[in-house]
């Protein structure tokens, strides 16, 4: 249910529309909760589920990791260079490194990883939407799909986490090499800078944000997919299911994280 569709409804239908909208969000949260419960239940880890999860991890993380890492390293290198040169030209070189770590590692890399996995997951769901199973409305099929989606949810969350962490570590190494070169003598100073940036609240915020990005990317398209399957709504749309909602949630998480950290 899109928000602007209210404009095309009679006022007496607004209540129903709001109820639909709320129910859609509720189903999304429910799926997220089911996925989490399934992820933490030992009974879930049957051979079939393990294989499904392994397949999703393979698709979402293993295949993507080299390309994403290379791409993010390239872009990060450019940004690191720009930031350091600018800081140096203003005589603020001691703040350049801190800024690189704050901007890239804490903010941009997790967001980029989430976006990347969301795109990839969306494509996977579009393919799934064409699956005949998606149109089977029997309870067994629904349960089957839910299990498969649960595997996909945990795999996607893991993919976001792994892309973000690998790229973050790589960016930290690149930043060090850019500032100090191959000399090991800057390590103490650099470690101190990293330690200064990663205050306990910032470090916990970073972890939580990455985790929530992972969950959002995993759950929202899956919930949208389930909705399509259940109600047949929006299947004809060329837009990736849940894309707008996903972007909205990612923005809210990022904004909330920034607000907590800097205000």
């Amino acid at each position: 249910m899109r928000l602007n569709s209210f404009l095309y409804l009679k006022p007496q239908q607004w209540g129903r529309a709001v109820a639909h909208y709320g129910a859609s969000w509720w189903r999304m949260l429910l799926l997220g909760a089911i996925a989490l419960v399934l992820a933490f239940s030992p009974s879930t880890y049957t051979r079939a589920h393990r294989r499904a999860t392994a397949r999703q991890i393979y698709l979402g993380a293993w295949q993507v990791l080299p390309w994403f890492t290379a791409l993010s390293a390239l872009i990060s290198l450019v940004i690191i260079r720009i930031v350091l040169v600018t800081a140096l030209s203003y005589g603020l070189s001691r703040f350049g490194l801190e800024m690189v770590v704050r901007v890239l590692v804490l903010e941009l890399i997790p967001l980029a990883a989430a976006m990347f996995v969301a795109l990839r997951a969306g494509m996977a769901f579009n393919a799934a939407a064409l699956d005949p199973l998606a149109w089977d409305r029997s309870p067994q099929a629904a349960w089957q799909l839910q299990r498969e989606l649960a595997a996909q949810v945990s795999a996607n969350a893991f993919a976001v986490l792994s892309l973000a962490i690998v790229s973050s570590v790589l960016v930290l190494v690149l930043a060090y090499l850019n500032v100090y070169g191959l000399s090991p003598w800057g390590l103490d100073d650099y470690t101190r800078t990293v330690g200064r940036v990663f205050e306990p609240t910032v470090a916990i915020g970073f972890g939580l944000k990455t985790l929530m990005f992972g969950l959002a990317v995993a759950v929202i398209p899956a919930a949208a997919m389930m909705e399509i399957r259940r109600f047949g709504r929006g299947a004809a749309s060329t837009m990736q299911p849940g894309a707008v909602r996903l972007l909205f949630v990612l923005t809210v998480i990022e904004a909330a994280s920034l607000a907590v950290k800097y205000f």
């Binding site: 294989r51 499904a52 393979y58 986490l161 990293v194 330690g195 990663f198």
Partner: protein, 313 residues
């Protein structure tokens, strides 16, 4: 209905589970390593000693910031708290390996520049002093660029006010400049420097007139003094006459000289005569004394002589 697991199994790439497990292990170890590195960077594993810095104002001091010694970080602010006496207590953790740079005579400062964050610095003059004890409390000095700005602004304001007073229309500097302008205006007038010095062309013209009259006076004086039968001529005649008089005087003086020589000779004779007179007088004196003695003898021997005796009452 087909089993999706079977479907997945058929089109799955080889060793998919192994790859997934490898990835899981790699990621987990990477996350753990990253966490450990951040903890190390935060100084969780360091053995530290506590240093308490007491400051009037802890503005800009935040937990996690470094305390430096000679540009090297030797400590990290752990906590900032307000003491019951209203002073700020900055609790600094100093790693044991760096604590040797801090001695009992060390001085600590908080510096705040215009750009950038606040810095806590330690200075140690005598490295042979006893080391700083764990939990030591030290006062911290404050060097604040920001605090200097109001003073600077106040000074600049005074300066600007003075400048404004100097450049006002009715200021003394302006008046002086106007006077200078008037003077230079007069200097460039008809009578030039004379007009400038005397205060106007009218005065200068009077001065010129006076000069003309002085000139005329000088010409007339010249005529009277050096002209024909002027004072100079009369003076010359008088001088010639004076010369004759002087010659006469000289001759008279010569005569006087001769007279004086004569007088000198007379004086010499008189002195000799005076010497002889002294001898003569001595002889007369003795003759007189003899005569007096003779008379006394005669008186004594004379029977009618009055008795000269004294009777006491």
């Amino acid at each position: 209905m087909t089993d999706p697991a079977t479907d997945l199994a058929t089109d799955a790439p080889p060793h998919i589970e192994v790859k997934a497990v490898i990835l899981l292990i790699l990621m987990t170890s990477l996350i753990v390593a990253f966490l450990l590195y951040v903890m190390y960077a935060r100084g969780v594993f360091e053995v530290t000693q506590r240093l308490v810095l007491v400051a009037d104002d802890s503005e800009g001091v935040i937990p996690g910031m470094d305390m430096t010694f000679a540009g090297f970080a030797v400590g990290r602010v752990r906590r900032v708290e307000l003491a019951p006496d209203g002073k700020a207590r900055i609790l600094v953790d100093v790693p044991r390996k760096d604590a040797s740079w801090l001695r009992v005579s060390s001085v600590f400062t908080i510096e705040r520049g215009l750009v950038g964050d606040t810095k806590i610095k330690a200075y140690t003059g005598i490295l042979t002093d006893p080391p700083l004890q764990d939990g030591a409390t030290r006062m911290v000095l404050r060097g604040d660029t920001g605090a200097e700005i109001p003073k600077l602004v106040a000074s600049a304001r005074t300066l600007l006010e003075n400048l404004e007073a100097m450049t006002r229309m009715d200021s003394s500097l302006n008046a002086s400049l106007a006077n200078v302008q008037a003077a230079t205006g007069r200097l460039s007038g008809r009578y030039g420097l004379l007009g400038g010095a005397l205060g106007g062309d009218a005065q200068a013209s009077k001065a010129m007139l006076a000069l003309d009259r002085v000139n005329a006076l000088l010409a007339s004086a010249d005529r009277r003094v050096f002209g024909k039968s002027g004072i100079a001529d009369d003076t010359q005649v008088a001088v010639a006459q004076l010369n004759v008089v002087l010659q006469d005087a000289s001759a008279s003086l010569k005569k006087l000289d001769a007279v004086l020589a004569e007088a000198q000779a007379v004086g010499k004779n008189a002195r000799v005569a005076t010497d002889d007179l002294t001898v003569l007088r001595a002889e007369v004196d003795s003759s007189l004394r003899k005569a007096s003695r003779l008379l006394d003898d005669i008186n004594r021997k004379w029977p009618f002589a009055p008795k000269s005796e004294l009777t006491l009452p």
